[in-house]
Amino acid sequence: MSTGPSLNGGDNRARLIALYGTMCRIRAFEETALAAHKAGEIPGPLHVSIGQEGVAAGVCTNLRRDDRITSNHRGHGHALAKGAGVSGMMEELFGRAGGHCRGKGGSMHIADFSVGMLGANGVVAGGIPIAVGAAQGLKLLGRDSIVACFFGDGAINRGPFLEGLNWAVLYRLPVLFVCEDNGVAAFTATASVTAGPGVVARSEALGVPCLSVDGNDAAAVDEAASRLVAEIRAGAGPRLLHATTYRITGHTSTDPAAWRDPAAVAAAKEAEPIGRLRARLLAEGVPPSFLAGIEGEARAEMSQAREAALSAPWPDPAIAWEDVQDSGAVEAH
């Protein structure tokens, strides 16, 4: 993560600036990807998380490199915040040979195991059992790493949500469940398909203590996550963070989100996490130019990554047959 020159304000200020930097990088990555997708440079579906960066940044700043995360279909922010390499991510989106997944996964299956990012997932709630199992494996191996499991508000109506939380409590596993509640699942308002009081009540009924937080306030997310992570590291078992947020863009890159209430979108733009943290830092006396520098750096990094990806080599078709399995692999002929 980019850290600026030393400024007044001490540790906390530095932490906020780091959060700001992470969010700017996520935003820049996704805006760049959106433009590249529009330009036909990125094939396949693309789900961006513009407006939701506060959650990824605030949670992952509390994780160590040897901690793990699992993600959903909207995983760029989680991956970047966990430290995934940008060029490997951008090349993956472009389907190039240097992608983290050698071009086999694309945006929806972005992963970087070298930094503990165990993969995005094309199946809603698909990452929940995997995260819980990873925590169980780490515990068995005697490691003190933890696992953060990101999923959307749409995922809490699928069975694995119940099975996963129940299980994590039973075996007292080091899992931080993170529900990014943006109010919508694809084209359906989640309130219209979610009965009862919601994720926190469900979680508590399954024995998982929770905190709710304004997900657009990255500092608040950081604070809440840091409390929960400390409890988890202390061996208290799983915790859930419920972060409310708003996705400004559509479900996929090609969804104009015309179904959205314009007033809500306008309000969301006011409340979006980067502008909010910028306002706070400015009020605290951080010079505008310094923040502009961070943003500019992020944008430059990502557009370089785009250019590099665009001219990066395509995977050799022969590798299509690789990475299937050791026994019984088939070969090209």
Binding site: P43, G44, P45, G95, R96, G99, C101, G103, K104, G105, G106, M108, H109, N121, G122, V123, V124, A125, G154, A155, N157, R158, G159, A185, A186, F187, T188, S192, V193, T194, W259, W314, P315, D316, P317, A318, I319, A320, W321, V324, G328, V330, A332
Partner: protein, 324 residues
């Protein structure tokens, strides 16, 4: 006759049947908004919330709930959005939907249609591109429909909705934009009858679903090279038109089965085996299959292209077969 896209043909068929029979209804994610592909566009306004049920992301309930509603006499259209998500509802499909009629000695009538847009979806990678129709030919109790044209999609969907059997309806999602003629009044197309897509005497090509247009194109190319293919689009895999295949093979002596699914364990193997059992090895001169190698579907265009069956691969296989 209107010229419409395949997805519109499917929409018209469902519309016709929902107007005819008030016990037909739809459940699935985002169906109130018209469905992911517009298959149900306008349905909410016409039929209301009780018949166009937009659901939570709860695939077990979507499938199991459809079954329960069938058991009390309604005819649900269960919309799975994308085939791959049916993996979240397999107990409900395989252990319940397919078995209740038999286990309960005929008391249950699981008259559901399960719509599962399937097949390789350009650069959508391994979890959104599966083609596992052969699995369900192996499961007693279900009909397996794999249409490829607007007219067949419409006619088979009408049959599916009227059928008392559970019908697994594989919408060919990559062909949704393809256009074709669909009659004003859509008559049911019976299950188990192939469409004779091309006449020829040199070899028989059996195919279905997303690969049909490519096989037809291959047929045209082969003709230019002097090879006349007899092309059968099976349209349903259970029941399937064994008679038509056997008759064609009796004329040509050469059998090529081409499908988008992985070759190993695909339905092509069943067709070949049935024909050898039926006609004897002496009843044919050569046999081959074209399908995806046993590899998950990759994301990047050059990788996907390397693996997926296409016109060139069908042409090459046909030429090799005729030479044998």
């Amino acid at each position: 006759m209107a010229q419409v896209t395949l997805v519109e043909a499917a929409r018209l068929a469902a519309l016709q049947e929902m107007r005819r029979d008030p016990t037909v209804w739809v459940l699935g994610e985002d169906v109130a908004r018209g469905g992911l592909f517009g298959q149900y566009r306008g349905f909410l306004d016409e039929f209301g919330e009780s018949r166009i049920v937009s659901t939570p992301i709860s695939e077990s309930m979507i499938m199991g709930g459809g079954l329960g509603a069938a058991l009390v006499g309604t005819r649900p259209i269960i919309e799975m959005r994308i085939f791959d998500f049916v993996m979240c509802a397999m107990d409900e499909l395989v252990n319940q939907v397919a078995k209740v009629r038999y286990m309960f000695g005929g008391q249950a009538k699981p008259a559901v249609v399960v719509r599962m847009p399937h097949g390789i979806w350009r650069n959508s990678a391994a979890q959104h591109s599966q083609t596992l129709e052969s699995w369900f030919t192996h499961i007693p109790g279900v009909v397996v429909a794999v249409p490829a044209t607007p007219a067949d999609t419409a006619g088979l969907l009408v049959s599916a909705i009227r059928s008392d059997d559970p019908v697994l309806f594989f919408d060919p999602k990559n062909l949704f934009p393809v256009t074709g003629e669909v009659p004003e009044v859509i008559d049911p197309i019976p299950f188990g009858r192939a469409r004779h897509a091309r006449q020829g005497r040199d070899l028989t090509i059996v195919t279905w679903s997303a690969l049909v247009p490519q096989v037809e194109e291959a047929g045209a190319m082969l003709a230019q090279r002097g090879i006349e293919a007899d092309i059968l689009d099976l349209r349903t895999l259970w029941p399937w038109d064994e008679e038509a295949v056997a008759a064609s093979l009796g004329r040509t002596g050469r059998l090529l089965v081409a499908h988008e699914a992985v070759t190993v364990g695909g339905f092509g193997g069943e067709i070949v085996a049935r024909m050898v059992e039926r006609l004897g090895p002496g009843g044919m001169k050569a046999v081959a299959r074209v399908g995806q190698p046993r590899v998950p579907v990759p994301f990047a265009p050059p990788l996907e292209d390397a693996l997926k069956p296409d016109v060139a691969k069908v042409v090459a296989a046909a030429e090799a077969l005729v030479r044998r």
